[in-house]
């Protein structure tokens, strides 16, 4: 698991590489917590190198979304592979997340 953070134009782009399973999700959770606590309002998650996400992985993003809603922030997911998209979709979460095809598109929103 590798998590990279990059700040561009007031947004943080978090690029994740690896499987977001039970063990991976706690790492992602810590990383997102740091970003949110630093006061960043716009967080873009780049999933282009994520092959797998489990339901505990979903929980991390739900939790982040809930925290950001409280502070008027936004969480945008982008470049989801079909399998990852399907996991979000099966749980019905595609309707609560803003999902973009590319990072560039996410930056414009």
């Amino acid at each position: 698991m590798k998590i990279e953070k990059e700040e561009i134009d007031g947004a943080v782009i978090v690029s994740i590489t690896g499987r977001i399973d039970t063990s991976g999700s706690s790492e992602v959770s810590d990383a997102l917590k740091t970003v949110i606590e630093s006061g960043m309002k716009k967080i873009i998650i780049n999933f282009s190198h994520v092959e797998y996400i489990s339901s505990s992985g979903l929980r991390v993003f739900i939790s982040a979304l809930k925290q950001l809603k409280g502070t008027d922030g936004s969480l945008i997911l982008c470049e989801l592979k079909p399998f990852v998209y399907e996991v979000f979709d099966l749980a019905g979460f595609t309707r609560i997340f803003v999902i973009c095809d590319t990072v560039a598109e996410a930056q414009k929103t």
């Binding site: 339901s55 505990s56 749980a91 019905g92």
Partner: protein, 460 residues
């Protein structure tokens, strides 16, 4: 050094060392030594140690060898060790025993040597208290013994009847006295330190073991309670053959299923999966199951139940936890099921006539995420011998040693092969296929399967 020392010193020294090693080994292995060291010793245990260390002090005097009427000896060693390991009471009393014995022997250095021994135990005890009732490290203990012996020699220089004799004695025996006592302390401290450490480690291990044992017992009780949350028996439903299985990955889990009998002979079927595992999932599972069951009573349809249950559960969930739920109501006429799939793995229907699969897709979000979410309600018609397989992702995401997933396709294959069996047997077939697939790989996620089979015309 004199020739007397040169010749017999080594033999004497060797004898002394052997005795110290044996005594150190023996004392440090007594329960009394550990208890008194830890400050939990009884009067009897303290008395026992006082006698042992006092005897060691007397042995120190008797085993010494004389130079100019002044014995080179390790009399102070016993009280010093007693002091730094067991405190001032044991150290001091042992020192007094050694001192009284020395006093009774007389000689030129009688007074300063007795006095030094009497002080030695208290000095060690003071160090013990200053060091917060812990033992000094070996090298500090050795340094302490050496310094104390220097003090002993200074006493000889201060209290005497003839300063020239005193100086010559100190010059001759000073080196060996400091050296032997320090060496004795080294041996003792090393043996005692190792043993105290061993006892401490083993006590810690025992404590840890007890705690683990208690946690295991608590989990076992939790597991039993959780088992009671699942239906004890599957109620007979006219026109259907229903069976279910739930296997948590650990003692307790986050999956559940439920069969809710309504007064009008309709039946509600629920299968659900809480995100996460073990204790947090189990607590959330209990909340979810009770919420779904109690809201179900108030609604005719499935969407209203899910809407209300979602609001209630969302209100209780701050941690991002959620639960995927499939909730269907089987019509008493036995052909139709209305359902809401709140983000759950789509159940699979095997159509007997067409020999084809269909899936019951989600028409709402998992519960516990957002209050006010809308839930759809769809219906599906069941024909004779059609099979619906409800399952949690523990089934399809079970992995083998190569990290391959069992997957939906393998699940469908088993269903196709066992399509003519009873629901219970189909579950056993799925379980068997998963075991064959996963082999030695341990079960990673909770597994729940519920199978509903519409009975054939001849059986109705």
């Amino acid at each position: 050094m004199s020739s007397i020392l040169e010749g017999e010193m080594w033999l004497h020294l060797f004898e002394m060392l052997c005795v110290i090693i044996v005594v150190a080994y023996f004392i440090s292995r007594t329960k009394a030594f550990f208890n008194v060291h830890e400050g939990k010793g009884t009067v009897i245990e303290k008395s026992f140690l006082i006698l042992l260390f006092g005897s060691l002090s007397i042995f120190g005097t008797l085993s010494g060898f004389e130079i100019l009427g002044a014995p080179v000896n390790i009399r102070d060693l016993g009280p010093l060790v007693a002091g730094i390991t067991c405190g001032p009471v044991v150290g001091g009393a042992a020192g007094i025993i050694g001192a009284v014995h020395r006093l009774s022997m007389g000689g030129f250095t009688c007074i300063p040597c007795s006095l030094a021994t009497a002080i030695s135990g208290f000095a060690g005890g003071t160090i013990y208290i200053l060091n917060k009732r812990k033992m000094l490290t070996v090298y500090k203990a050795v340094l302490f013994a050496a310094l104390f012996e220097c003090f002993h020699l200074i006493l000889v220089l201060c209290i005497n009847t003839n300063i020239d004799t005193a100086v010559s004695i100190v010059m001759q025996v000073g080196g060996p006295v400091v050296f032997f006592n320090a060496l004795g302390m080294f041996i003792f401290a090393k043996i005692a330190e190792n043993h105290l450490e061993e006892i401490r480690t083993s006590r810690e291990r025992d404590r840890y073991k007890d705690e683990l044992e208690r946690k295991r017992a608590e989990l076992k009780i939790a597991s039993e309670i959780q088992q009671q949350f699942l239906p004890k028996d599957i109620p007979p439903i006219t026109g259907y053959d229903l069976a279910a299985l739930s296997l948590p990955a650990r003692e307790i889990g986050g999956d559940f299923y439920d069969i809710i009998p309504f007064g009008n002979q309709n039946h509600g079927l629920v299968i659900a999966d809480v995100s996460g595992k073990s204790v947090p999932a189990a607590l959330f599972m209990a909340l979810s199951k009770i919420t779904v069951r109690s809201t179900a009573v108030w609604h005719q349809g499935t969407a209203g139940t899910m809407y209300d249950a979602n609001d209630l559960i969302t209100h209780e969930s701050d941690s991002g936890m959620f639960v995927t739920v499939f909730y269907g109501i089987l019509d008493r006429m036995g052909e139709r099921m209305i359902y809401t799939n709140a983000g759950h793995n789509p159940p699979i229907i095997f159509r007997k006539k067409e020999e084809q699969f269909e899936t019951l897709h989600q028409n709402g979000m998992a519960l516990g995420v957002m209050a006010g979410s809308e839930y759809g309600q769809d219906e599906v018609f069941l024909h004779p011998l059609d099979i619906i397989v409800f399952y949690t992702d523990g089934v399809t995401e079970a992995i083998n040693q190569d990290e391959e997933q069992f997957g939906v396709e393998r699940l469908k294959k088993v269903i196709r092969i066992s399509k003519d069996m009873r629901s219970q047997q189909i579950i056993e077939q799925i379980q068997g296929a998963m075991q064959t697939f996963c082999k030695e790989e341990p079960q990673f996620d909770d597994i729940t399967i519920m199978i509903l089979k519409a009975e054939g015309d001849d059986e109705k």
